[in-house]
Point group: C2
Chain length 330, copies 2
């Protein structure tokens, strides 16, 4: 037998006692069932899967009371043709000119429209600041580079009204990928960089070479497949190693803003997260890592003390690298 092939026997893993009762309850719900991906050329199959997934996610958010717009003003904008949800906390300090550019997750295929609106509201509440969320185009109609193009259009529009040091860009999962891709694209095209980046349980290597794609498969209750279907549909025939598709393969030494990265010990994307943390630090970027005990992909669904603790870290990171700088004082 090849010793290099590690044989890991079948195991039964209990809910850990080392997380909050709320997080234990999330883990005790077990695996999130997911239908297999359609064939790559089955556009109708993808559309059907996408709409039913979006409906399910929206119902889940709604049921958990996460979609309430309480305390926020939400506007539907169209920014140079790209739909954007603009969320403003009603208690925002008048001299706070900062803005968070939120890029939603959803494996590059789901999370648009009403789900994007809900995610934008949740994200604004988390970061406690003015926020724009890009409702970028997605497959099957619009594969890469549509999503990155749309994000760049919106970032350029933000730069017309904001100084770069007032902007933080962030996203979860595929949104973390698009955040990093947008930064590389903006940098390569000569635009100034934002004050910071927030990469939450990000997918940064679409070739799935990260070790945790194997070590945590079956342990992560949220990402339960290594089927690359969604990544391939998004790539639309482009090389998965292209840095705008897999930012881990980008040259990070040519400029990247301070970055907060977070993942969980059960996350299939733990490897992508820690590899990016190391790559950024090797490139001299101020990058910090947070890993939540026993958290699967996406953490604990936003409803546990652990999620709130991570929110506090994100706020602290933003205040550190993107402090309120009243314009009137300059």
């Amino acid at each position: 037998m090849d010793r290099a092939l590690l044989q890991v026997p079948e195991r039964t893993i209990p809910v850990p006692t080392t997380v909050s009762p709320e997080a234990q309850a999330v883990l005790a719900m077990g695996v999130t069932p997911a239908p297999p991906y359609p064939a790559l050329d089955d556009a109708q199959g993808w559309r059907k899967m996408i709409s039913s997934t979006d409906a399910m996610v929206l119902a889940m958010f709604s049921q958990a009371g996460l979609t309430s717009p309480d305390g926020c003003k939400i506007e539907d904008l169209t920014v140079h043709g790209v739909p954007v949800f603009a969320v403003t906390p009603i208690d925002l300090a008048p001299d706070d000119e900062r803005i968070y550019l939120d890029i939603h997750g959803g494996a590059f295929i789901v999370g648009g429209g009403e789900v994007c609106r809900a995610i934008a509201t949740m994200a604004a509440r988390k970061v406690g600041m003015r926020l724009w969320s890009v409702d970028y185009r997605m497959p099957p109609e619009h594969p890469y580079p549509a999503a990155v193009d749309d994000c760049l259009v919106v970032y350029r529009a933000l730069l017309e009204e904001h100084r770069p040091e007032e902007i933080v860009i962030g996203g979860t999962s595929a949104g973390g990928n698009l955040t990093a891709a947008l930064i590389l694209r903006a940098r390569d095209e000569g635009f100034p960089l934002p004050a910071g980046a927030v990469l939450l349980t990000p997918a940064l290597d679409l070739t799935q070479s990260g070790d945790s794609f194997r070590t945590n498969l079956g342990v992560d209750t949220v990402i339960t497949t290594s089927d690359p279907g969604a990544f391939l549909l998004y790539a639309g025939g482009h090389d998965l190693k292209d840095p705008y598709l897999s930012p881990l393969f980008g040259d990070l030494s040519k400029g990247f803003p301070p970055t907060l990265l977070a993942s969980g010990t059960r996350d299939v994307l733990l490897s992508d997260t820690v590899r990016m943390h190391r790559a950024l630090r090797a490139a001299g970027v101020a990058a910090e890592l947070h890993v939540l005990e026993a958290a699967p992909h996406g953490f604990f669904r936003g409803r546990t003390p652990e999620d709130r603790e991570l929110d506090r870290e994100v706020r602290r990171f933003i205040d550190e690298y993107c402090p309120v700088r009243p314009r009137s004082l300059e």
Copy 2:
């Protein structure tokens, strides 16, 4: 079937392509075979296992060329009855009054004597500063609290010749545990705290409640058992939840120095590491986390680019929190 019990099927995990060729070679060596622990009351069995393990470790270090004293001066000291290896790099800057108090690892039972001397030399080369390594007493003859007592004796002796802001304490595995335990003990007894702590793949919860004790068992090629024998032998009947035995259960809000923590995605002690990181941050301590892709317990045996990158982080951390402060300038 209880959904809360996660059934993880048998798997075959290849050597990842996401680490250096040198790290791939270490992982390709497969599982480190380890004999089962003797019964707790079989002192003779423990002594035999300990001496054969120490001999094996020393041979491994020596074979890898890690034990050479090149560039260092090593002295055997006895500090108030406790044996200490004092290592001084020969190229040390004359105004560098800093000292690293190194606490060796080895599951609380191995790593003493000549192995401690070898670890001290390796550690001094890593941190590039004056270093003392405590050859603390161990089971079966000397269970807890002998090791912590010895470390405290040596730390108190250091405080007689050094300002606390010139001292960093650190250790790997059980040495990380003893580092944290020593800091809690010193604090509780009213001694000033060191400038920083370095906890490398630390065992901080001897009850083994961390989730990665289960999720990474079989994935970690170095710690290959969840047998608590060594921890129980060390505890010698004391409550494993005592903060001096399991520092994760200590009150970290009453003072703890800035801390660097590191682990690997395959490490059985990943949970202990990230839980301590979170607990320290929740207590307001400046704590930073580094996780190496695919690294098992103890990283890649000190011989890969990944290990050297971690060494650079440790040096940078020390320079940040324990900068050279020439006494003559004060």
